[in-house]
């Protein structure tokens, strides 16, 4: 089974390529890259003239909600949304019901993914039992079962002693520990960022310091234990500065940022639209600028959506009562292309790296490369495609996005996993 993707602009940061070339896929793997390749008879030809051919994008922070919250999303619908959004792989967080804190749930997720998953699914296991922050989860068995990282995401492990032990325990598995950095007391459940907007709106705010304080703590613990710390959904200038300094010191810390933290500020909350409520909350312009700068210079290693589906009833009504989180799989790539690449804030090869090479390296995954022999996970982009965000057309089960009605240019065109087209 051969496939020839002809004449596209091939952007492969791992291989140092950014040129028009053909990509020859055979038996689900990259066979050859080159100009004017002649495919064998019977090969399918995909004309990628004017398109951009990249290693498949990997979203390392997704909530697939299955098992337990299938009314919000399932592995089937979530991976379909991923494929539609240009992603060939997702890593899914452990705050399911039951929590993925033991191998039985990990096995379940992988089994469902095998049958119903449209793209690759990599489970992330819990750090503590039931995400309660008091006892370690069985990380050895979970790693054996296939967990690629550990995180209590959704919650912060407040007990420093326990978190230190968790980092130490996870060391032999080579799995990063992913921190949801939020000091729950400083944050006191406030629904938005503390600042002038919260003062004017009379809404309780959580200061950026609630995130910075925990990032600082986790960096120090990573230094102490030698663990690989990955900071989830970084959002403040303070946290960015801490990560930059820690990297300079040689600490094994990495970070991800969401598209919404690069495009929106807390001004969006003035509408009281619950689709602008998430954790960490939308921050100030200064924080957004710091994150953009860090994404460009590599202090932030990758973009991850923190795709968090919720039913409509959970995202309408009083702002302070709404569930936290927004979907992101189907809006990430178009927004990043239109708001970052098109105005020249970030060049295309760097964006591709932040979406493919970066996550693959962080999680020790195969992928993020178009080198011959690699699995043919390929994302093809159309930079000239106009888009309008229409939640009614989402493949995800949920519609909770702050970007409804946003327009721009640049979108995913085709997604292939193992050489097979999976775009819905």
């Amino acid at each position: 089974m051969s496939l020839l993707i002809r004449n596209g602009r091939v952007v492969d940061p791992a291989g140092g390529t950014d040129a028009v070339a053909d990509v020859w896929v055979a038996e689900g793997r990259i066979h050859k890259l080159g100009r004017g390749l002649k495919a064998p008879a019977g090969a399918e030809i995909i004309d990628a003239t004017g398109k951009v051919v990249c290693p498949g994008f990997i979203d390392m922070h997704v909530h697939l909600r299955e098992p337990g919250f299938e009314y919000k999303e399932t592995i089937a619908s979530g991976t379909r949304a991923a494929a539609a959004g240009g992603f060939t792989a997702v890593a899914c967080m452990a705050n399911t019901f039951p929590v993925n804190d033991n191998r039985a749930v990990t096995d379940y997720i992988l089994a469902r993914a095998k049958v119903e998953g449209v793209v690759r699914v990599y489970p992330i296991g819990a750090v503590t039992r039931n995400l309660e922050g008091t006892q370690l989860a069985e990380m050895a068995e979970q790693a054996e079962a296939g967990c690629v990282a550990f995180s209590d995401d959704g919650k912060c492990v407040m007990n420093a002693e326990l978190y230190r032990r968790a980092m130490e325990y996870a060391l032999p598995f080579g799995t990063p520990v992913i921190s949801h950095a939020e000091d729950c007391q400083l944050a006191h459940g406030a629904p938005m960022n503390e600042g002038f907007v919260s003062t004017e709106l009379g809404l309780s705010g959580q200061p950026g310091a609630a995130e910075d304080v925990m990032v600082a703590r986790d960096i120090i613990l990573a230094e102490l234990t030698g663990a690989h710390l990955h900071v989830a959904h970084i959002s403040t200038a303070g946290a960015v500065r801490l990560v930059r300094e820690a990297k300079a010191r040689g600490v094994r810390v990495t970070a991800e940022v969401t598209p919404h933290h690069l495009v929106l500020t807390d001004e969006a909350v003035r509408s009281y639209d619950p689709n602008c409520k998430m954790a960490p909350p939308l921050r100030t312009k200064r924080d957004v600028e710091a994150c953009l700068e860090a994404l460009v210079d590599g202090t932030i290693d990758c973009v991850a959506t923190d795709h968090a589906p919720h039913a409509t009833s959970e995202k309408e009504g009083e702002f302070a009562e709404a569930a936290n989180g927004v979907v992101g799989l189907e809006t990430a790539v178009p927004l990043l292309l239109d708001r970052l690449v098109r105005p020249g804030v970030l060049d295309l090869p760097t964006l591709v790296a932040r979406l493919s090479t970066g996550p693959a390296r962080l999680l020790n995954l195969p992928g993020g490369s178009l080198a011959p022999g690699a699995e043919a996970d390929i994302t093809i982009l159309d930079l000239e495609q106009d888009f309008t965000v229409d939640p009614a057309a989402f493949h995800s089960r949920s519609r909770n996005t702050p970007f409804a009605g946003f327009t721009g240019r640049g979108a995913p065109w085709m997604t292939l996993v193992g050489g097979v087209k999976v775009t819905p």
Partner: protein, 308 residues
């Protein structure tokens, strides 16, 4: 100027001319309170629904009297808690009420933004009777009416608001409204009870009571809620009242014609000593009387403006 709004959500939305319209109309409404037959047929056949999610006898009664004196039919809906507590979401409750064709819904809710949400979804007019710590526009309007009545004008006055500004919708509405009318506003309280970047609202910030009230024409005391002690905002009620409470002694250096205001209910001995509360400086009871007049004016202006 002419009132064209369907809803009254906050002082922040109003222009100075609209505020003046309400105050002027309220003066005429106040005359009705002095009559033997306290009724005019103006809103006859109109239905006003009081949808109060936070218990509040005073404000609700004030709106009820206002509606009844205008001959409207007033229905009280006491919903407790929030969407999460009772199972029926705020929007569902509102839609159910709307199915009964009210002309105005007056809503008080603990969530900032709730009246704005209702106003977007309901065809009838919505009056915000207090949403979280955000706004309480009829309170600010009655405060402005009281000040204008006593001082003869608003522009150029110095008003000091003392107390828990962070959690106060009365403070916010007054700050927004007063600034539009040319009043210089100072807020005073312990730093833990003044919200971040407060001065960007266009107010002076002080952490010393004596300095903040020295030149004030009006001192507005905010109610201290006991939960603030538990939340770590103040060490004790006792210390708060010693440092921030008003007594006759603390008023000695102030202007002899200073007005003392309070949105009520007063914690005697905490924000105000009993002597101050009962002194000639206090216009607290005038505030209450003006509350009915202002709410009559608001109902009159809203019930008449057709969005159809």
């Amino acid at each position: 100027m002419g009132w064209k709004r369907k809803d009254l959500i906050g002082m922040q939305d109003l222009e100075a001319g609209e505020i003046t319209d309400v105050l002027d109309t309220a003066i005429s409404m106040k005359e009705i309170a002095a009559r033997e037959i306290k009724k005019v047929p103006t809103l006859r056949g109109k239905t006003v629904v009081n949808l109060f999610y936070e218990s509040s006898t005073r404000t609700r009664t004030s709106f009820e009297i206002a509606g009844k004196w205008l001959s409207a039919d007033v229905i009280n809906f006491s919903a407790s808690g929030s969407s999460a507590d009772k199972g029926e979401s705020l929007l569902d409750t509102a839609r159910n009420i709307e199915a009964m064709s009210p002309d105005v819904v007056v809503v008080r809710h603990k969530a900032s933004g709730a009246p704005a949400l209702l106003a977007r979804h309901l065809r009838c007019g919505v009056v915000n009777a207090g949403d979280g710590a955000h706004e309480h526009p009829t309170q600010a309007l009655l405060d402005l009416m009281t000040i204008r009545e006593k001082k003869g004008h608003l522009e150029g006055l110095n008003v000091t608001i003392v107390g828990d500004v962070t959690h106060s919708r009365v403070a916010r509405s007054n700050i927004f409204g007063m600034r539009k009318m040319g009043i210089t506003v100072t807020v005073a309280g312990p730093p833990t009870l003044i919200p971040p970047q407060c001065q960007e609202l266009g107010v002076k910030v002080s952490h010393r009571l004596e300095e903040a009230i020295a030149h004030a024409d009006v001192i507005m005391m905010l109610r201290l809620q006991h939960e603030r002690m538990e939340g770590g905002f103040i060490p004790s009620i006792r210390e708060y009242s010693r440092v921030w409470g008003l007594s006759l002694a603390k008023l000695k250096p102030c202007r002899p014609d200073v007005l003392i205001m309070h949105p009520g209910p007063v914690n005697r001995g905490v924000e105000l000593s009993p002597e101050v509360a009962d002194s000639p400086f206090s216009v607290i009871l005038d505030q209450v009387a003006n509350g009915v007049a202002v709410r009559m004016a608001v109902l009159y202006l809203l019930a008449g403006s057709k969005s159809a």
